[in-house]
């Protein structure tokens, strides 16, 4: 079974530029998550989708971050314009369904450096 795929793996941009990350979850997984992991911290949930609907985006900085999951499969996360403090690893995860006991499977992440 293929895991969660993310691209690119690494990205370096200057502040005020825009960037987009792509995630392909495990086939059949209804729930998709985007996390931000700043160096030395644990992952922090940014947004959560159930199929193509948003379940929770309370921690997403909506003035600069946006995410979509068209057709309930792939997802993209965009930052526009980027700030220095956005430097982090962006992790995508998916689970079969929404619920406590449904394991979240993580992708390898995209490491973003904003200079």
């Amino acid at each position: 079974e293929a895991g969660v795929a993310q691209s690119p793996r690494y990205k370096i941009i200057e502040k005020r530029q825009s960037v987009a990350f792509w995630c392909n979850p495990i086939s059949g997984h209804a729930t998709l998550y985007w996390y931000q992991q700043i160096l030395g911290q644990g992952p922090k949930l940014l947004i959560q989708f159930q199929n193509n609907g948003v379940v929770d985006d309370s921690q997403l900085p909506k003035d600069r971050f946006s995410a979509e999951r068209l057709k309930g499969v792939d997802s993209t996360l965009k930052i526009q314009p980027a700030k220095l403090e956005d430097s982090a690893v962006y992790l995508c995860a998916s689970s079969l369904e929404l619920g406590l006991t449904y394991e979240q499977y993580f992708g390898p992440g995209t490491r973003l450096t904003v200079t």
């Binding site: 644990g42 929770d56 006991t101 992440g109």
Partner: protein, 114 residues
């Protein structure tokens, strides 16, 4: 305000000995707890979980203990192996929050010395 705390950034243990990783939480709504393991340049992988109706869950060399009154959980690895060297994250969730989102601690880096 950190709701899940892992106060030890790192831990070194000899191969074959017991590794004990600790985690504290402050939110009384949390009723499900998980441990994830992360190798460099990889995403976290699920290790073991425990529901608040239990005080212990065991899976092979890994055991998680939950003390609800103290809002404390611990992960025991026995015996520790060099391949266990990784960063371990404690996470918590609530069945009463419709999103079931995970709140993670900062992680503890475990080094198992051969």
């Amino acid at each position: 305000d950190q709701q899940v705390k892992q106060n030890s950034p790192s831990l070194s243990v000899q191969e074959g000995r017991i590794s004990i990783l600790n985690c504290d939480y402050t939110n009384s709504m949390f009723d499900y707890f998980l441990w994830y393991k992360k190798y460099p340049a990889e995403g976290p992988t699920f290790l073991i979980s425990i529901s608040s109706i239990k005080d212990k869950n065991e899976d092979g060399r890994f055991t998680v203990f939950l003390n609800k009154s103290a809002k404390h959980l611990s992960l025991h690895i026995v015996p520790s192996q060099p391949g266990d060297s990784a960063v371990y994250f404690c996470a918590a969730s609530s069945s009463r929050a419709g999103s079931y989102q995970l709140t993670f601690g900062k992680g503890t880096k475990l080094s198992v010395i051969p």
